[in-house]
Symmetry: C2
Subunit: 440 residues, 2 copies
Amino acid sequence: MASLIEPRVLKGFRDSLPAAEIKRRGLAGRVETVFQSFGFVPIDTPALEYAEILLGKGGGETEKQVYRFNDNGGRDVALRFDLTVPFARFVAEHRAELPFPFKRYHIAKVWRGENTQRGRYREFTQCDFDCIGSGNAAADFEILLMMKEALAAAGTPAFTIRLNHRGLFNRFLQRIDSAGKSAEILRAVDKLPKIGRDQVLNLLSAALDEKRAELIVKYVETTGNWDETLNAMTEAAGGDNPDSARLRTLRGFMLDTGIAGAFVIDPAITRGLDYYTGIVFETLLDGMPSIGSVCSGGRYDNLCGLYSKEPLGGVGSSIGLDRLLAAIESGEKAGRETYAELAVICLREEQGGVYQSIAQKFRVSGIPAEVFVEAKKQGTQFAEAERKGIRWALIPPEAGADTGLVTLRDLQTRKNSAPLTVSAAIAFLKQNEKGTRASD
Amino acid sequence: MASLIEPRVLKGFRDSLPAAEIKRRGLAGRVETVFQSFGFVPIDTPALEYAEILLGKGGGETEKQVYRFNDNGGRDVALRFDLTVPFARFVAEHRAELPFPFKRYHIAKVWRGENTQRGRYREFTQCDFDCIGSGNAAADFEILLMMKEALAAAGTPAFTIRLNHRGLFNRFLQRIDSAGKSAEILRAVDKLPKIGRDQVLNLLSAALDEKRAELIVKYVETTGNWDETLNAMTEAAGGDNPDSARLRTLRGFMLDTGIAGAFVIDPAITRGLDYYTGIVFETLLDGMPSIGSVCSGGRYDNLCGLYSKEPLGGVGSSIGLDRLLAAIESGEKAGRETYAELAVICLREEQGGVYQSIAQKFRVSGIPAEVFVEAKKQGTQFAEAERKGIRWALIPPEAGADTGLVTLRDLQTRKNSAPLTVSAAIAFLKQNEKGTRASD
C-alpha cells in the first residue's frame, strides 16, 4: 500500500466548514440584495489572466505578492489579486457592448501571497461595486449610500464612513509647493493610524522639510464638525474650489436622505493608491478600529489607461467580506449548522421512498427537511438532529400503518405532538414559524 | 506615454457579461435552494492546494491538464481541477468535527488546461452534492431524487437519468473471466456513445478476445423496460446478488415517490473513473444528447484512501453548471439585463439626494430601483431604461414643487400615469407585479 499523504491546506489558506459557510453565504446574499436593489448588475471575470494584463509593464510591490507562473502552453499568467484591474480590462474589452454609466458589482475570490503573520489570508473574497462613465456628484453619492445600506443590511456593528477628497488635498500640496512629492506624501499620511504622528513627521521631513511636514500633519489633523473641518481644509487649499463644492453637495445629499450621521469628513484619509483623483473613503467600526477598514474606495478618472487611450472615469467601493465576517462573528454566538428545520426519522430502511415522499411535501412548502438515512435508535437520531440545530423531528408512520399519521417532536421541549396528517404538520410548522418571527 | 496593452482574456477563459451572469446566478440559486431544502450544508475549500494533495503520488492523464506551479515560497501547488479531491482532503482533515452521515454541497470554480477545440472551457463551475458515511439505499436514493429535483428547478429541458451499478458489471466480468482487465474494459465501454459499437469491439478484442468482447457489448446493449433489463443483467451476472437487489430497492423507492419516469436502467453507463463501486449514473437531455451528461456521479467506497487508512464510503453527484446553462440558453430568448424594475429619471443633477430618497422607498418595499445620475434629455433616459429591460420610469417632482407628486411611465405602452404620491406609486407597482405573476 502506498504511504499516506497528510491532509492539510497551504499556509494562509483555509477551509470553510458548514457553520462558517452558512454565515458567509448569508452575509454575501444580504449585501448582494442591496446591490441589486440599486439596479447594479453582476459580472464575472476569469480568476487567471495574462500577467501583463494584471501587472502592467511595471511590477514593484504588487508583483511580489502575486501568484504568477507559466501555464502548460508557456503563457505568462497570474491569479487576480483584486477585482479592479480585471474590471478595467473588462471595460476596455467590452466597451462597445456596455451601457454607460455602467453600474456593476462583482463578488469573487482574489489571491495574494502576503505575509500571513498579521492574521491575513492569501485567499479572500471582495465585493466590489462601481459606477463608471459619469463624473457627477449623484454617482459619488450613490456609492456612499450603497455602502451605508449594504453594511447595515450585513448586520455590521456601529460604523463610521470617513470621507475625504484627493483633489482638495492636492490643491493644498500645490499651495505649499509639495505637489511634486505627492506619491510619497500620500503613502506617508496613509500610515498615520499604524505608525503614529511622530513617525509620519519623520517620513515627511525626510521627503520635504520640517516646516512643510508640520503643515501637512496639521492639515490632516484638522478636526471639528463637518462644516468647520471643510472650511478649514478649503482655506488651507487656497479658498473656494470645485472639490470643496463637491463635498458640500454630497453633504447636502446626505442631509436630504437622512444618512448624514453615518459620515464624517476626515482629511487624513488618502488611500495610498495612486489612481484616485476625487473623493476617497474608508469605513471603520466604532468599537473595533483595529480591524481596519471594512469598506473603502473612491473616484478615479482613468480606469482603463493601460488598455485604452479614451479616458473613462468612475467611482467605486469594495467591501472586504472576510474582515466584515470577523467583525460580526466577534459579536455573535455560533450560528446554525444547517438549513434544515425538520429531520425525518428513519424507522425502517426499506421505507426510504415513503420518507422522502413525506419530506418532499415539507420542502415544496418552503420547509427544508433532512431525511435520516440510517435506522439508528430514535434517541440517537433525536440527538443528532439537535446537535445540528434542527428544531423539529418527524416520526413517520409505522410500516404498514394505514392512517399515514405522523408525530412531530419539538427537540427543544422534548414533547411529541398528537398524531397528525402531513398537511396538518406542515400547517403547524408554518404557524409556528410565523409566531417565532413575530416575537423576534 | 507607455504603449497600450491589448485587453484580452486567456484562451479557454471568458468573461460573463451582465445578462449571462444574471442567468448564471439565477440558475445556481435555484439549484442551491433545492440542496438546502434537503438539509445539505455548504462548505468551501481553497482554490489552490499542495499539488501532492490534488494529484496523489501518481500523475498521468490528469496531471497534463492541471495548472501546477511553484509559489513564491517554493511550494509545489496546483489549482483544483474538480471538487471531489479537495472534498476527500477536507473530510480526512476535519473528520472529528463533522457529523456523519455528512451531507454537503459545494458550488465553485475548477480549472483544467484542456484542449479547447471542442468548445470546452478551462474555467468552469461545478455543483457537487455528496452524502458520505452511509452505505444505505436511502442515501443512494436521496442523491437521485435531488438530481431530479435540482434539474427540474433549474428549468432543464426534458431529461433522463441513466442508472447502472458498477458492482453488477464487475460480477458479470468475473463470470466471463475478464475482471482482471476491468479498468481497460470500463474505459472502452465508456467511449461507446463517442466512438460507436465497432470501435469498442476492436478495443475490447485487443484487450481480451473476440468472444468475450462480443459478450461484453451484448451485455451493455441489453434493452427493454426496467424489470426486463435488470433481469437480463442479473442472469448474465450469475443470478440474484446484493447489487441487483439494490437496484430493485431503488426502483421501489422511485415508484413510492412517483419519480420513476425520470430514470432508466442502462448497462452501458460505467463512468470511466476507477473509484466508483456501486451505483453510477449520467443525465442526458432528451432533445440534445450531443451536449453530453449534465449531471453524473455514483457511489464510491473509499473517498479518503490517499489520506487516511479508515475507509469512508459515500454517494454523490455533480451538476455541470456551464453545460446546463448552454442547454437552457439554446431553448430560450435573451434574458434580462438588470434586476431593476424602475428607473428614476434625473431632471436636475443637484436634486440627487431627493431622487435617492424616493428610490429608497421603492427599494425597501422590494422594488429594485436604479437612479439615473445624469440629466440627459428625458427621451434619452427613457430609451436607456428600455434598452436595459426596465419596465417603469419614474419622473420625479420638479425642484421646488411642494406636492412631491411623481409620474410613472410605462415604457412598454409609453403612457404616463396621473401624478401620484410615492406611496401610491409603490402600491401600483406591487399590484401590477401581482397581476403579472397571476397571469403568467
